[in-house]
């Protein structure tokens, strides 16, 4: 687990991703905090606005209601102080003044009536027949007025039960009653003045406050909590709905929160002066939530859009920062891939430009260094080849001169002359004006010269047979490669076979390759010895120069490539075949120069 952690920890991430993700996280965190704070602020603000709006509605409704009720009291006052007090019931009638007052206010009034303390009707407008068997003194408005004489009394809404209306109309009224002093024959007696206000007028006032509020509503209660108006009053009357009116009666003016029927509600209360009535505004909490749902949705979408924009901007910014670095990285990758002359990006930011320039300079320097090393290596190889070649010449010269000395000592002057002639020819080819690459025909001539010399040396104890295809004679070869093989064939193959030794040299072409075989029927070698012959650390017994096959093999490989060189097949007591493998290259001046310079080999190596 720990290992995995470290593995992950050390896994390099793209700079653009790191920048983009870091910026995005920081931005989202900031936005989240900002959004939440704004949202809370908005919620509080909305609640405040709702309360304020409710209070405004209540204030307006209260003003309208107070104005209405004040008018009613004025009517009552006018009736009492300007009419009743001035009249003696025994002599005067108040019908005319009452009628005037009624006519002036009949939109808001149902009736005005004056009763004695025994419930006897003194006067009433509009003129109507009093109901039979009616017990006025038992009616609530009457008992209230008589019970507390100094006050106005506002009743709760009720159906007027005073006059007979043959059109079957019944009026909902709110009775304003007060005790009055009636004068009859100079003596005063108690009476009750009743102003029945049209309930519809009050209903209309409150209906205005309930317009456009589907869930928010306003209702009116008296000081005991009895409902005077409610937008769903009938449902309340039939107990199909409940209202928290009794509790609301105990609320002070202002805003309150209450839980009613498992619902949180915002209650705003305003008391109507003089009557003690209370206008109550109810705003269920879910109304605020409903409004907030839209707002919440708006906030979420706004935040999502902003987040998207931030992510895109972050990507653009991070891309503009990371792009130059990525391009620089691409240049390095190209260089890594082997392009020694890559297009190094230089530009954009100061730092990247500096890095690019430095890298470009470094690449140029390394390229120069590598070219120098290459030239150096080529020189080294050339000198190595020269050294290898120079290893042959003294070895061969030593052997040949040894044979000539031996002939002269044996007074075989003709043979010595022949030997010297052959040696001269051999050296001509060997020198080849300093060339390393010669034609196969020259090489064969060199080999023949050599074998002529050796045959004399060994008194024709073996036979030599050259079978060369004409086609290959005009091709290129490294000089002095057959002679060491012939030398080995003599020393390790046919020497001491008393005229039965055979050495066969065969040259032929196979597709684009040339093979030159040197075969002897000598003693041969075991397989283990054959395997060691071409290895650098071979311990095969050496005669002659001690350079032998490995020398030729290395020269061929150095010159033509690793796929060329020598192949050896040997069967003990049957003989050995050494096969030279060369490319089929026609000998021309250009080819000779090309091969001498070693470019041909490098080209082939690259192709491989």
């Amino acid at each position: 687990m720990k290992g995995l952690f470290f593995q992950r920890e050390h896994k390099a991430l793209p700079i653009q991703l790191i920048i983009s993700v870091s910026f995005t996280i920081v931005s989202i965190c900031c936005m989240g905090i900002l959004g939440f704070t704004l949202y809370r602020f908005l919620v509080q603000k909305m609640e405040d606005i709702t309360i304020e709006s409710s209070e405004q509605i209540l204030d307006q409704t209260a003003i309208n209601l107070e104005t209405y009720l004040r008018n009613m009291r004025r009517i009552s006052d006018t009736m009492y102080y300007s009419v009743i007090k001035d009249k003696d019931l025994a002599t005067d009638t108040m019908a005319e003044e009452m009628n005037l007052l009624y006519e002036a206010n009949k939109d808001n009034l149902i009736s005005i009536a004056c009763y004695t303390n025994e419930g006897e009707l003194v006067a009433a407008v509009p003129v109507a027949t009093e109901k039979e068997d009616i017990r006025i003194v038992e009616q609530e408005w009457f008992t209230d007025a008589v019970g507390r004489m100094e006050n106005f009394h506002f009743s709760t809404p009720h159906v007027q039960n005073l006059f007979d209306n043959t059109s079957y109309r019944y009026y909902w009224v709110i009775s304003l009653s007060r005790a009055v002093e009636l004068t009859n024959n100079g003596s005063s007696r108690l009476g009750v003045l009743l102003v029945d206000m049209n309930y519809s007028s009050i209903e209309q006032l409150l209906k205005k406050a309930n317009v456009n509020h589907s869930m928010e509503y306003v209702y009116l209660i008296d000081r005991e909590g009895e409902i005077i108006y409610h937008p769903r009053q009938k449902l309340l009357n039939m107990h199909l709905l409940e209202e928290n009116n009794q509790i609301a009666a105990s609320y002070e003016d202002g805003s309150h929160k209450e839980y009613f029927q498992d619902e949180e509600r915002l209650i705003t209360v305003k008391t109507v002066s003089y009557t003690g009535w209370k206008i109550v505004s109810v705003t269920p909490k879910r109304v605020l939530s409903m409004g907030l749902t839209e707002t919440r949705l708006f906030f979420v979408i706004l935040m999502l859009l902003t987040m998207l924009m931030i992510i895109i901007i972050n990507q653009l910014v991070s891309s503009s920062i990371a792009k130059p670095l990525q391009r620089l990285n691409e240049s390095v990758k190209e260089w890594e891939a082997g392009n020694m002359n890559p297009e190094i990006y230089v530009g954009s930011f100061l730092e990247v430009e500096h890095l690019g320039k430095t890298l470009r300079s470094t690449v140029a320097q390394i390229r120069q260094l590598m070219e120098d090393i290459l030239i150096e290596q080529e020189e080294k190889r050339k000198s190595e080849l020269d050294a290898l070649q120079s290893q042959i010449n003294p070895h061969f010269l030593y052997n040949t001169l040894d044979s000539i000395v031996w002939m002269i000592e044996g007074e075989r002057y003709d043979d010595a002359v022949f030997m010297v002639t052959q040696l001269a020819s051999l050296f001509r080819v060997s020198l080849s004006r300093g060339k390393t690459i010669i034609s196969i025909s020259d090489e064969i001539r060199h080999a023949k010269n050599y074998m002529n010399i050796q045959k004399i040396r060994y008194k024709n104890t073996f036979t030599v047979d050259f079978q060369m295809e004409e086609d290959i004679l005009k091709c290129c070869t490294v000089k002095l490669i057959i002679q060491p093989l012939l030398e080995n064939a003599i020393y390790y193959g046919v020497q001491g076979m008393d005229g039965e030794g055979e050495i066969q040299i065969r040259g032929y072409r196979s597709k684009e390759d040339i093979y030159i075989e040197v075969r002897d029927n000598g003693i041969g070698m075991p397989k283990e010895v054959v395997c060691q012959l071409l290895s650098e650390n071979n311990h095969a017994p050496k005669k002659g120069s001690g350079v032998g096959l490995i020398n030729v093999h290395n020269r061929l490989k150095l010159r033509f490539g690793s796929c060329y060189g020598l192949e050896i097949e040997s069967v003990p007591d049957e003989g050995t075949t050494v096969r030279i493998h060369l490319p089929y290259l026609i000998y021309t001046e250009e080819m000779q120069v090309l091969l001498e310079s070693g470019k041909q080999k490098r080209q082939e190596e690259r192709e491989q």
Binding site: H158, V159, N161, Y168, K234
Partner: protein, 322 residues
């Protein structure tokens, strides 16, 4: 780079989903705010007796976002006359119809051919067979029994030998049949005699004076019959003093004559509740499924001159009319 495209793709997808969600919400909101059109067809719709019911319906229409159209009609004489109005309303592509059927008999077959997808609720009276449609009706049997109880309470032992005449109203309506049966059942064993039962659709014409002289008690089982009985008694004042009237009704006229003492007791169905309940049930059917529905009964009130002005009774009996 692929990773960035992936994140970008996720974000775009997220935004698209949010968009689709908003569209869905908007559609839901529109659906919620969609107002259904409902027609109300009752006999003699401009009659005062429907005031409370209309108030209840209008209250519910406001509460449940229903566009209510109370069709102006005269008194339906026949079922076919009423069906003609129903057909006309259905052809106006209403979503639902609230119906007070003039006859419970043979109505089912006729209505089955008219209504295809509209929601239907029966008001005041059901039709036969009762289980196929939703109805909102008063406790008709209870109302009949309550009328009998009033008589039994007022007369006590004196009921023995009293002759009762019943204005049974439209006995083609199940509601009226139930009221009549409720009344007669309750009166069983009282030793009072039901002298006659007059149906409004009866061809038989009886002289009013003759009718009144035959009975001591007049029982009217619906508003129209009570108003008619009041008219009889007003026309023959000497009989009015002898013949006591017990009726069912809610119109201002019957309430007025209860107040005047011409009617001894009045059984008043809670028509506000009936109207409210019918529209509420209609809204439920339209919003969810027309196949789901539950018939309901509403209560009634028994009032006499003494308790007419009691606060609770006032609130039900007297509509607030501007």
């Amino acid at each position: 780079m692929n990773r960035y495209r992936f994140y970008r793709g996720i974000l775009v997808l997220f935004l698209v989903l949010i968009g689709l969600w908003m569209i869905q919400k908007e559609q839901d909101r529109r659906q919620e705010s969609e107002r259904y059109m409902v027609s109300v067809i009752v006999s003699d719709s401009n009659n005062d007796r429907w005031i409370a019911m209309k108030q209840g319906m209008e209250q519910a229409a406001g509460d449940f976002h229903i566009d209510l159209n109370i069709i102006s009609t005269g008194p339906f004489a026949t079922l076919e006359e009423e069906l003609e109005v129903v057909r006309r309303e259905v052809s106006n592509n209403v979503d639902g119809v609230i119906l007070q059927m003039v006859s419970s008999e043979q109505a089912y077959e006729a209505l089955e051919g008219i209504f295809t997808k509209e929601a239907v609720i029966f008001l005041e009276t059901d039709i036969e067979p009762e289980e196929y449609f939703v109805s909102v009706v008063p406790d008709n049997i209870g109302m009949g029994a309550a009328l009998a109880d009033c008589i039994l309470k007022d007369y006590g032992e004196r009921i023995e030998g009293k002759k009762i005449g019943i204005l049974g109203g439209n006995q083609k309506q199940i509601s009226m049949q139930q009221r009549l049966s409720g009344f007669t059942k309750q009166m069983e064993g009282s030793n009072a005699e039901i002298t006659w039962v007059l149906h409004s659709e009866s061809e038989e014409q009886i002289e009013k004076e003759e009718m009144l002289t035959l009975v001591d008690l007049l029982v009217a089982l619906d508003n129209a019959e009570t108003e008619q009985a009041v008219d009889y008694l007003l026309e023959v004042p000497q009989e009015a003093k002898r013949c006591a009237l017990y009726g069912e009704g809610i119109s201002e006229k019957v309430v007025y004559y209860l107040d005047r003492g011409l009617i001894q007791s009045l059984v008043v169905p809670n028509e506000f509740h009936m109207g409210y309940q019918s529209v509420k049930e209609m809204s439920r059917q339209l919003s969810y499924s027309p196949t789901i529905g539950e018939s309901s009964q509403v209560g009634f009130l028994v009032v006499d001159k003494e308790n007419l002005y009691k606060a609770d009774n006032q609130k039900i009996l007297f509509p607030i009319v501007q």
